[in-house]
Symmetry: C2
Subunit: 209 residues, 2 copies
C-alpha cells in the first residue's frame, strides 16, 4: 500500500521551542525538512539548498506568479517563501515533510494544504516562555514585554490547529509528535480508498485462485 | 490539567482479532474495560461484574427505560447491553475506557458518544481472516463461507470509523492504538478550553505576582 507522505507543520509562538523540537525530530526520523526560499543575501556559513534557496527578486516574483509557493511574506524588505513543487515531490514519493513556520505562515499554508497536520507547540508555562525570550537577545525591558505579550496573544491561535503539544521536555514533545504521525497514518479519512481497493483485490484472489 | 477520559471503541469484523488486541492493551495500560450487561444465565466459570453484569429481564428493561445503555441488542432471545452510568463514572475520573464491540453496536454507540475514538481492526489479509474463522469452529463449509462473506462485507463499514488498524501482529496493532490515544489527548478539539483557561491563569500570575 503506497501512502502519500504527510505535511507536518510545526508552529507556535516565538520562544515555544519549535526549532529545538524540529532538530530533534530530524535526528530520530526519516523526514524531509522543507527549506525556505528567500531574496535575502546569504550570510557567512549559510549553504544554498540547506539554509535557504537563495533567489533574486525577479526569480522569486516569477515563482509567485506561477503559484509555486505554499505561502510567502515580505519581512524588512526581503521576501521569504515555502516552495510548493519540492514539498509536493517529496509527498508524492511517500516521504513525510516537516515545515517549521510562524503562526501567520502556518495559517496561509492551511488554506492550501487542508490534509496537512498542524501542530501548535506550547511553552510549558508563561514563566518559561518569558525566560526563553529573555535568553534570546539583548533587548530592552520594553521590547521584551512587547515580545512576551505578543507571544501570549498568539496562543489564542491554537484553536486553528489540529494538535497542541506542550514543550515540557524536548524528548516528550518529540515522542508525542511521533505518536501523532503514527495515528494520522491510521486515520480512515486518509486510508479509506486504499483499504477498500486492497479488499477487492484480496477477495478476488480468494475466490478465483 | 484534569482531562476527561476517552472512550476507545475497538470494533471490526469477526475474525479480525479484536479480543486478542484488547487483552494485550489491558495488560500494558491503565484502562477500564467496559463490562456488558446481559439477561443470559451465567455459565460455569463466569463471574458477576467481570464476565458480565447478570440482570433479570425486568431489571434490564427498567434500565433501557431509564436510558442507562449506550447500546443494547437482543440475540437469540437474550438481551445484551453496554451500561452507560459505569462508563461515564470512569470517564469523569479521567480514566480511559475500552469497549470491545461488534460493528452494529459500535455504530449505535457512536450516535450517543460523538467524542469517542472509534477504531476498526482489520485482518492482515482476507486469507488470514478466512483461516481465523476456520480455526474458531466446527462449522460446515457453507456456514464458513457465509461467515467469511459477511466479514468481508462488514469491512465496508470502516468508513464510519475514525481510525483503521491492521492486525498484522498484536504487538504492532497495540502500539498503534497507544499512539492513537496519545495523539487524541493532544487534539485541539479536546484540550482547547484547558489551554486557554490555563493561559489566563498563568498570565495573571506573571503580571501580578
Amino acid at each position: 500500500m503506497h501512502q502519500r507522505g504527510i505535511l507536518i507543520v510545526i508552529s507556535g509562538p516565538s520562544g515555544a521551542g519549535k526549532g529545538t523540537i524540529c532538530k530533534a525530530l530530524l535526528e530520530r526520523n526519516k523526514f524531509w525538512f522543507s527549506v525556505s526560499a528567500t531574496t535575502r543575501k546569504p550570510r557567512k556559513g549559510e549553504t544554498e539548498g540547506i539554509s535557504y534557496y537563495f533567489l533574486d527578486r525577479k526569480e522569486f516574483v516569477d515563482r509567485i506568479e506561477k503559484e509555486d509557493f505554499l505561502e510567502y511574506a515580505e519581512v524588512y524588505g526581503n521576501l521569504y517563501g515555502t516552495p510548493k513543487s519540492k514539498v509536493d515531490e517529496m509527498l508524492d514519493k511517500g516521504i513525510d515533510v516537516i515545515l517549521e513556520i510562524d503562526i501567520q505562515g502556518a495559517l496561509r499554508v492551511k488554506e492550501k494544504v487542508s490534509d496537512g497536520v498542524f501542530i501548535f507547540i506550547l511553552p510549558p508555562s508563561m514563566e518559561e516562555l518569558k525566560n526563553r525570550i529573555i535568553k534570546r537577545g539583548s533587548e530592552t525591558p520594553e521590547s521584551l514585554m512587547t515580545r512576551f505579550k505578543s507571544a501570549y496573544q498568539e496562543i489564542n491561535y491554537v484553536s486553528k490547529y489540529n494538535y497542541a503539544v506542550v514543550n515540557d521536555t524536548v524528548k516528550e514533545a518529540v515522542e508525542k509528535i511521533e505518536s501523532i504521525l503514527i495515528a494520522e497514518k491510521c486515520r480512515v479519512d486518509r486510508i479509506k480508498e486504499t483499504i477498500l481497493e486492497s479488499k477487492e483485490g484480496l477477495m478476488h484472489e480468494q475466490l478465483y485462485d
